[in-house]
């Protein structure tokens, strides 16, 4: 068992000529929640999207450095990207359920990964919706379209959808930024629950949220990982003046 769930070594990343990430070195331990904070355009989402190779889809991205998940170089030639994305789940900024039924949304990941056993799928779908704290609200309307759910319910459905394929690491890209405070609270409670079984990396703009849900916090500024440490340390006695200024609301 490797020590780190995620390990990033000397990562430089460019969009064309623009350097979006500068010499990033970072590790995350299993069963912890790490929050990425920083002003817009600081590279935190870009780094997050490295972990499931979502940046592959964007033209003009090139990088140097290494990214390991569970000790495996995810950019090695023999890596199956589809398989990697199955083990690294992702929840996006805006809820993006498929225009299908609630049930089919959660079953989708299983189906595309070749699962055809009906009972297994059904059990897994129900399990996942329960884990995502959505079961009581949707148990009577699994056949209904997911588009009929509220934004907060849709986002929890997206989390259920990610959980169904049993990822070991879950990436969340500002999962609550498009939601109202009550839905946000539910998502945060959920993250707290999920920590027992999963490693989570969450990008957030919301400082209080980072403080509430995370064990570790990493502060990004202009493509640099300025510092990262236990959340408590970052929020009470940061090393870098930029971190302090950001946390106390001087900019950003």
């Amino acid at each position: 068992m490797p020590d780190y769930k995620v390990e990033v070594k000397n990562l430089d990343l460019f969009y064309g000529d623009f350097q979006a990430l500068k010499k990033i070195n970072f590790t995350a331990e299993p069963n912890t929640v790490t929050a990425f904070i920083g002003p817009s355009g600081c590279g935190k989402s870009t780094l997050l999207r490295m972990f499931n190779r979502m940046n592959d889809l964007i033209d003009g991205v090139h990088f140097t450095g290494e990214v390991y998940i569970d000790g495996n170089d995810i950019f090695a030639k023999n890596i199956d990207v589809d398989n990697l994305r199955k083990t690294v789940g992702m929840v996006f900024q805006k809820p993006n359920p498929f225009p299908k039924s609630i049930f089919e949304n959660v079953a989708y990941g299983l189906r595309v990964n070749g699962v055809s056993d009906k009972h297994f799928i059904e059990k897994k779908v129900i399990d996942s919706i329960k884990k995502a704290a959505l079961w009581d609200e949707v148990k009577d309307k699994l056949k209904k379209s997911a588009m009929e759910l509220s934004g907060g319910q849709q986002q929890r459905l997206c989390i259920a959808r990610a959980l169904a394929v049993e990822p070991a690491l879950i990436l969340m890209d500002e999962p609550a930024s498009a939601l109202d405070p009550i839905s946000t609270g539910k998502i945060e409670d959920l993250i707290f629950e999920l920590k027992n079984q999963y490693s989570i990396i969450i990008v957030t703009h919301n400082m209080q949220q980072a403080g509430r849900v995370s064990d570790y916090t990493a502060f990004f500024y202009m493509g640099e990982l300025v510092e990262w440490n236990k959340t408590k340390t970052i929020f009470t006695s940061p090393d870098d003046i930029r971190t302090q200024n950001y946390i106390t609301g001087r900019f950003g």
Binding site: M54, R85, F92, Y108, V112, R161, A162, V165
Partner: protein
């Protein structure tokens, strides 16, 4: 507001209002004109003007349809009992036949005796049927004049023969033309659909930005080529090729028309389908990929279902274009107005018929009106396709 400004505002409004009204009314008038002219067909017989059909006064047949008249004069019907009369052989006579029965002396100067001779001949021969110009009909004619049935809508739609120049009664059966139109369009869609969709998917999902920037304008350019050029290409390249390939007597077939139309419909299908596929939100595709779905699975299970209504609209618009296309089809399909059985036979489409025959149809005559009636059929066909497009487009995914 200053008065000058107000006047400008009012004038601008007036101009906009007038031009939009004039446009709408014009379009409406064209449709009304089409229907008025076309529907007039069903109010008349198909016998040429000033021509009457005369039989012996003992003949029991009271009315004939234009198809029956045509069959009689073609000698496909040879006995009166086939059309409900006595068992007597039919002797069809046109006015020329009549005139040649008699000598010049008998006819007299300027055919002045012809009317009397005709009456006499008709009365002496129980089986005769004669088509005579009204001017050669004697006053108080003793024979019987047979009224022709009016052309019925059913006869027009289901008749299998289109012979507008038949003498003395033209035959207007639009069925082979309707079928010809549908066959050629159907063939075009069968060819254009798979190719068009695959190209659209390739352009939207697989091709890189640079390739797409080259491909898309090129394909859009294709729709700007005049249809007569496509027709010419079809005539010079496709028709001989089909003739050789299938060892046919003539290469001008429904297949040639379908291929030319397919090439013409492709730009429409590709452009609209590609736009539809590209409207699938990136977030949905990323959600699918993030769950471990492959690019192809995502395409099949997320992208295409999302773009479904746009893709269907592309298909129907492609068909609509094919149905109404005239010139290219006219040039390569051979234009034989027979009910098609295979794609390797000549067919004739509605637009091609109208374009080819309108010049030789006397203004306001039966043939003229029959062509307008064809126009109505075409109008209804394209109207159905357009309605389908708008219903599909407004349906939420």
């Amino acid at each position: 507001m200053k008065p000058v400004k107000r006047i400008i505002e009012k004038t601008a409004k007036g101009v906009l209002f007038t031009s939009s009204m004039v446009t709408s009314v014009t379009v409406l008038l064209v449709v009304i004109f089409l229907f008025r002219e076309g529907i007039g067909l069903f109010n008349q017989t198909s016998v040429e003007k000033h021509l009457v059909i005369a039989v012996n006064s003992a003949n029991r047949v009271s009315a004939l349809s234009s198809t029956e008249v045509k069959s009689i004069f073609n000698q496909d019907i040879t006995n009166w009992k086939e059309v409900g009369g006595d068992d007597i052989e039919i002797a069809p006579k046109t006015i020329d036949d009549m005139a040649s029965l008699f000598t010049e002396e008998e006819l007299g100067e300027g055919f002045k005796n012809l009317a009397i001779l005709i009456e006499k001949y008709v009365e002496e021969n129980p089986g005769v049927i004669a088509s005579i110009p009204e001017s050669y009909l004697k006053k108080e004619f003793k024979g019987k004049l047979i009224p022709l049935k009016k052309i019925s809508v059913r006869e027009f739609l289901t008749g299998t023969e289109w012979i507008p120049t038949a003498h003395p009664a033209a035959v207007f059966g639009a069925w082979p033309l309707i079928l010809g139109t549908l066959w050629v369009s159907l063939g075009a869609i069968l060819l254009a659909l798979p190719i068009g969709l695959i190209t659209a998917i390739y352009m939207a999902e697989v091709a890189g930005q640079r390739l797409r920037n080259i491909l898309k304008p090129v394909i859009e350019l294709l729709s700007g080529i005049p249809s007569v050029v496509y027709g010419f290409f079809g005539l010079v390249v496709l028709v001989p090729l089909i003739q050789k390939l299938f060892k046919l007597d003539v290469g001008e077939t429904a297949l040639a028309g379908s291929i030319v139309l397919a090439i013409m419909a492709l730009p429409t299908i590709i452009t609209i389908a590609e736009d539809a596929i590209r409207t699938t939100p990136r977030a949905l595709k990323e959600a699918s990929l993030a769950l471990g779905a492959s690019h192809f699975q995502t395409l099949l299970k997320v992208t295409i279902p999302y773009a479904k209504s746009g893709i269907i609209a592309a298909i129907i618009l492609g068909i609509g274009r094919a149905v109404g296309e005239t010139m290219a089809v006219l040039m390569v399909t051979g234009n034989a107005s027979v009910v098609p059985h295979t794609f390797l036979e000549p067919v004739r489409t509605i637009p091609a018929t109208i374009a080819a025959e309108l010049g030789e149809a006397p203004f306001g005559g039966t043939h003229f009106k029959a062509l307008f009636a064809l126009g109505i059929i075409l109008f209804i066909m394209t109207f159905i396709f357009n309605t389908l497009v708008s219903t599909v487009k407004t349906r939420k995914p």
